[in-house]
């Protein structure tokens, strides 16, 4: 007698909702086991990791601050992922968006125009889109796998940031340190509340979530892309252009990642340095999956992942555990999710041994 996977006749809606919950539960349990194995009190670990970060308003605002770029990137990516367009280069598009927006800010150091910030948002979106357009073009024109091209471009983007902050954009008054000037006050996103760091980008992110939801669930184009992703041939027979799907998928991801990049450099960082992204582009992919490629899910998933980041810092400070613990949790979460997702489309069946 052995176990076998049998495809369900229809995806199970129950498992659809249960799966992320199960994954989070498994992650928490494994996390506590990890604390125990490391000789730390698992309950104290749980408290410091998951509860400490939100124990006051400042903590909540930090969580939202951290979640904002994740939300932006993830909703953009999910437009593409739903359509089987695999944009792995969000990190690079984030950086290019940051550079574009930063370039605008640095070019107008004295401007007081109310158009400066919107201009920077636009520049960020365009920068990210331009970077995403490259893999899109290479895929539609040359059939080059967008996973690999977008990934390679991440490295090129990182090197470009490095070149600019070491060279042409280096702050002349910065003692030769690799960083740009601080952006002037009109080029910084307004804070939502004095004393907290969360800024207007949160509204942009929520707007993106809403627009994303409307697009995916209520627009014909969104429908086309969904079909293209789930049943490519059906989509083709129906006349949906796969070319347009690819372009839209990549550009959506690029634009939003670019805006996310802008929100970091025009927000908590206030300049361009070599450390403007702790891997948001890659974490956003986890957010997209955990959020089931659905804007509502993405909202919660980005809060969860932000919590993992901030919790990791807390655990480092109070329990002397390496901050890499965040990555361990993130990886575990994704693995558990992928594993429990299987049960949406498949069920386990006991089979009698073959005679």
């Amino acid at each position: 007698m052995w176990l076998k996977f049998e495809q369900r006749t229809e995806p199970s809606p129950l498992m659809s909702y249960l799966s992320p919950a199960i994954a989070v539960g498994l992650m928490l349990v494994s996390g506590m086991a990890l604390f125990y194995v490391l000789g730390r009190n698992p309950f104290a670990g749980f408290k410091i990791f998951f509860l400490n970060p939100v124990k006051d308003w400042y903590g909540v605002s930090e969580l939202l601050l951290k979640a904002t770029p994740l939300m932006l990137c993830a909703v953009g990516l999910s437009v593409g992922f739903r359509a089987n367009v695999w944009n792995i280069g969000a990190e690079g598009q984030f950086l290019m968006g940051a550079l574009a927006a930063g370039g605008v800010a640095l070019h107008f150091p004295d401007s007081t125009s109310p158009f400066l910030l919107p201009g920077m948002v636009l520049a960020g979106a365009l920068g990210g889109m331009a970077w995403a357009a490259i893999p899109a073009w290479l895929r539609t024109r040359f059939n080059a796998n967008e996973i690999l091209t977008s990934l390679m471009l991440v490295y090129v983007a990182q090197l470009m940031v490095s070149w600019l902050v070491h060279g042409p954009w280096k702050d002349p008054e910065g003692f030769n340190f690799p960083q740009t000037q601080m952006f002037q006050p009109h080029a910084l996103l307004p804070l939502l509340k004095e004393g907290n760091r969360v800024n207007a980008a949160l509204f942009i992110a929520i707007a993106a979530l809403i627009i994303g939801w409307v697009f995916m669930n209520r627009s014909f184009l969104g429908y086309q892309m969904k079909v293209a992703g789930q049943a490519e041939n059906a989509g083709r027979y129906a006349g949906f252009s796969s070319r347009r799907t690819i372009w839209l998928g990549m550009l959506a991801g690029g634009a939003l990642a670019g805006i996310a990049g802008m929100s970091e450099v025009a927000g908590p960082i206030g300049q361009i340095t070599e450390h403007i992204s702790p891997g948001y582009g890659f974490a956003a992919m986890i957010v997209a999956f955990v959020g089931r490629l659905n804007p509502i899910g993405i909202f919660f998933a980005s809060l969860l992942l932000a919590l993992l980041y901030v919790g990791g810092e807390q655990v480092q400070q109070y329990m002397q555990l390496p901050s890499a613990i965040s990555n361990v949790f993130q990886g575990m979460l994704l693995f558990f999710l992928l594993a429990s997702d299987v049960f949406i489309n498949f069920r386990l069946r006991r089979m009698a041994r073959r005679q």
Binding site: N143, A144, L151, M160, M332, F335
Partner: protein
């Protein structure tokens, strides 16, 4: 003096390229079977930390390499279960593995961060090492460098001259047909993935035991991702993996030598560092453009899950 410098550069290039060759060949076999494992960085990191721990504890470098191999293998097993048995999205699984592997390695390696190893002793191949210029560059290297060449020959022979290799390639090209003939597609893919993981682990071990004998978080510094790029750049052919690895490795070391000599290049260092990635994109475009060409090179079913008994 000029020839001496050339020897130095070749030596450094070979050293820098070796982990890329080993991890790249492992990933090549995995991809030839139709599986895209993006978790190379995580597997290399775990291989590195395991090897370092064992090397530090036992001073036996052979055991250390073995430990790295096992660690990489175990990590790839995680991926295999998720992507092959549970049929989850391969891209997502690979990403999860690289994030998880790097984080876990940093974690495990924490207490090791202050330790250091004595560097391994190079093994000189008699006679050959006396060839001017090439001799000291190529034949006075660490043992794993020679292993990388042997590995290349073995992988090439396996893929193109042996029956199991043919079966593996068939599984990568047309898994449904292979299944119909009776080959155990999932099992073959498992083996390919495990081999890839083992090699990534060995490559990671090389980094910390021979290349820079210390461990620190982030040691692998993107070499896992470079190895994945390398496989594409080499159009999935083993010999080209070697050449590409030395090319990538050369790019990495060249800028140091240029600087040290006092020559001022007007090209920014970052541009030189970007060349391997740009070259990879170019190669990808060139081979993908011609649809029949790509059929000759990249495994047709790369990245797609295989559902048995459908």
């Amino acid at each position: 003096m000029g020839l001496d410098l050339l020897t130095y550069i070749l030596f450094a290039t070979v050293m820098a390229g070796t982990p890329l060759i080993i991890a790249g060949l492992g990933e090549l076999v995995t991809e030839k079977a139709g599986v895209l494992n993006l978790g190379c960085e995580g597997m290399m990191s775990m291989g590195a930390v395991a090897a370092f721990a064992v090397a530090y504890g036992t001073h036996n470098y052979f055991l250390a390499i073995l430990a790295g191999l096992v660690a990489g293998l175990v990590m790839s097993l995680l991926f295999a279960v998720a992507a092959l048995t549970l049929m989850a999205n391969q891209v997502a699984c690979g990403l999860a593995l690289s994030i998880f592997g790097v984080g876990l390695a940093a974690f495990i390696g924490k207490p090791l961060e202050s330790m250091s190893l004595t560097a391994g002793t190079p093994v000189a191949i008699p006679l050959l090492c006396r060839i001017p210029v090439l001799g000291p560059a190529l034949f006075q290297q660490q043992s794993l460098v020679y292993f990388s060449w042997v590995l290349l020959a073995a992988v090439a022979w396996f893929l193109y001259r042996s029956k199991p290799g043919l079966v593996l390639r068939a599984v990568g090209e047309a898994p449904v047909s292979a299944h119909a003939i009776g080959y155990r597609v999932v099992r073959i893919r498992y083996l390919a993935v495990l081999f890839g993981g083992a090699m990534a682990g060995v490559a990671g071990a090389f980094m910390v035991v021979f290349y820079t004998p210390l461990w620190v978080e982030g040691m692998i510094a993107g070499r896992g991702w470079i190895s994945i790029a390398l496989v594409v750049f080499s159009t999935w052919r083993p010999l080209r993996v070697l050449l590409g690895a030395y090319l990538f490795g050369g790019c990495m070391v060249a800028q140091m030598f240029v600087q040290a000599s006092g020559i001022h290049l007007n090209v920014p260092a970052q541009f030189l560092s970007a060349l391997p990635y740009l070259a990879t994109v170019l190669v990808l475009v060139l081979i993908s453009h011609n649809r029949s060409n790509i059929r000759l090179n990249s495994p047709a079913s790369l990245g797609q899950p295989f559902l048995p008994d459908v």
